[in-house]
């Protein structure tokens, strides 16, 4: 178990290093920030001062090393537009994003899990077909289209809910529902195939052959085993809580991290983009690590198999 854990943590660290390096490469090497921020007509002294301020005049490997040290210390620079610490600028948006992504996660699980299980249990009946049709629709309707259509119905025609902003809880309803519905489709589909996989296993046949009631077979043999692969997708969803709402936040003018990111990209505010990139990377890696550890606890088979696979 210890070896399994260490291996997983090592992998997570490697991934974090890769993400940090990727952020460095993307944000530092692909253009000269001095020209982008100051414009090509700025006086040469201004360029000099800017480069000195941001450490852009040093050799690239020094910049890379310093960058790593700074990231490790949590020093991620100031927003190049409004001068405040980028970490603070991003940090103050996080609660607003969580205010819609957490309830959305709840909707996704509350609809997606049961729908997937039911579809698998009634495979190839009209129930399954209906659920899968809705699920495919959820996959193929982009969230901004669903969001705008919901806004058109509930805000423009019926006038029940506001179409944009964040003043009251009513403003959170449409973005939350939009994200919840799209995500539920993903979970339903994934749960269904996990469940079908389990239902085809010999131990399910054994359990029903020894005379267990079908609902008991499902409850104590099928569901726990199907829950294991489903953990992966839930881990991914938890990891994307912080920045999974880029499009939906923009549709409904919800001032969360996602909308901040879109504005920062449009304004080329590199420090803010970088903080969000690292934040997303860390939450994703953290969530994946948590899922891996949970796997190890829930399913002892994996501990052994993965070690033997030797990767």
């Amino acid at each position: 178990m210890v070896q399994y854990l260490l291996m997983k943590i090592f992998r997570a660290l490697v991934t974090v290093t890769l993400i940090v390096s990727a952020a460095f490469v993307v944000l530092r090497l692909s253009g000269d920030p001095a020209i982008i921020i100051l414009g090509p007509e700025a006086p040469p002294e201004a360029f000099e001062a800017f480069r000195r301020n941001w450490g852009l005049d040093q050799p690239i490997w020094v910049q890379y090393f310093k960058y790593f040290v700074a990231v490790a210390q949590g020093d991620l620079g100031n927003s190049m537009r409004d001068g405040r610490s980028a970490l603070v600028v991003v940090g103050e948006r996080i609660p607003l994003t969580l205010a819609i992504t957490l309830p959305a996660l709840f909707i996704k699980l509350a609809i997606g899990l049961p729908a997937g299980v039911v579809a698998a249990l009634y495979r190839n009946t009209w129930v399954d077909r209906l659920i899968m049709m809705l699920s495919v629709a959820g996959f193929t309707v982009p969230s901004f289209v669903l969001g705008l259509v919901l806004a058109m119905i509930f805000a423009v025609w019926l006038g029940w809910l506001p179409s944009g902003g964040s003043d009251t809880w009513a403003h959170a309803v449409l973005p939350t529902v939009t994200m919840g519905l799209v995500g539920a489709a993903v979970i339903a589909r994934f749960t269904r195939s996990a469940m079908l996989e389990v239902l085809g296993q010999p131990y399910i046949r054994t359990a029903s052959a020894k005379g267990l009631l079908w609902r008991n077979v499902v409850r104590s043999h099928a569901l726990p085993n199907a829950a294991i692969p489903t953990l992966t997708i839930i881990g991914f969803l938890v990891g994307s809580l912080v920045a999974g709402a880029v499009v939906v936040e923009s549709v409904f003018s919800w001032p969360g991290v996602g909308r901040l990111l879109v504005n920062a990209v449009a304004n080329r505010d590199l420090a803010v983009v970088q903080v969000i990139l690292l934040l997303v990377g860390l939450t994703m890696v953290g969530a994946n690590l948590a899922v891996d550890i949970l796997y190890g606890i829930v399913d002892p088979r994996l501990r052994i198999k993965r070690l033997q696979a030797g990767s």
Partner: protein
């Protein structure tokens, strides 16, 4: 066991062909069994889109950038407009149908080229991992894991923050969507193909690795790869239209489906058709390709997820 003698299962003899209803019915049944109606509709739509993409210039009734300030915000024909502008006009009097046609063309071309790039990158890395094994494979697997751990949208936004959005760079960026899945699949398939007799045979005949992989293994795993590329395609369309919707993808005066929805949303109250036409095009197209992809997967390779 008794032999089943339902008419439909018997070989069609002249006697049956003349009068039996069952034979023809089962033939029609067999046809729809092989080609479900939904798949036929999807294929029809994809064909239509292909025609639009190829013939956009000749089909579009107007220049997609032509302004007509006297004909602003005219509703489409089924909402009280006229056939002069079948899908209405936008706030600058541009013909929505013409813009839609050009948008479909640009969005599809981007999605097609991107999927092609993802295929080349993914298959190359997958094959490299399968050929070298050991260290090289570990590094490639690590890259795959890192890519899979990050939502692609966030990476794309970070890259766009710096490079800005030229159509060329944007297409290449989209081309990196999904490479990790294709790399993973082609690595697995190549490793198992390597064990097969035909690979050993050509290797023993002295073929170079490039020849073995390109001429023998690739054709043998192509059907599975094509299925997974088909399933990748609609996702690229959604990603491209999402980014263009945010104003960070295809830039005006160029137009794309997401781009149209993006500015159409300002007129959601007064002129919803500007937004609805491209939305419908996105949904029906991605749905059709998904249906086709799922069907191909069930038919050719049920092991893929």
């Amino acid at each position: 066991m008794t032999i089943d003698t339902t008419p439909g299962l018997e070989p069609a003899s002249p006697a049956h062909a003349s009068g039996s209803v069952f034979t023809s019915k089962s033939r029609m049944g067999a046809f729809f069994e092989a080609w479900p109606p939904l798949v036929l509709i999807a294929l029809f739509w994809i064909g239509l889109i292909a025609v639009v993409v190829i013939g956009a210039k000749w089909i579009a009734p107007y220049d997609f950038m032509a302004l007509d300030l006297r004909a602003r915000l005219i509703p489409p024909v089924f909402m009280g407009g006229s056939w002069v502008h079948p899908l209405g006009t936008d706030e600058l009097g541009r013909d929505v149908l013409s813009r839609l046609i050009v948008s479909i063309r640009i969005s599809m071309v981007i999605a097609f080229l991107s999927t092609l790039i993802a295929a080349i990158v993914g298959v190359s890395l997958g094959f490299l991992a399968a050929y070298f094994r050991g260290r090289v494979e570990q590094v490639i697997l690590m890259l795959i894991d890192a890519q899979a751990a990050m939502p692609f949208m966030i990476i794309a936004l970070a890259v766009l923050a710096f490079l800005g959005s030229s159509l060329f760079l944007f297409t290449i960026l989209m081309g990196f969507y999904g490479w990790e899945r294709i790399a993973r699949i082609s690595r697995g398939l190549a490793i198992s193909a390597n064990e097969r007799g035909y690979a050993t045979a050509v290797r023993d005949l002295g073929a170079t690795p490039i020849r073995i992989y390109a001429r023998h293994i690739l054709p043998n795993i192509a059907s599975t790869l094509i299925v997974s590329l088909t399933l990748n395609f609609p996702e690229v369309i959604l990603l491209e239209s999402g980014l263009s919707f945010l104003g960070l993808g295809v830039q005006p005066p160029m137009t794309s489906l997401g781009n149209m929805v993006g500015y159409g949303r300002d007129y959601i109250q007064s002129a919803p058709w500007i937004m609805l036409a491209p939305s419908a095009a996105i949904v029906v197209t991605t749905l059709s390709i998904s249906i086709l992809g799922d069907w191909m997967r069930d038919k050719f390779d049920p092991t893929l997820d």
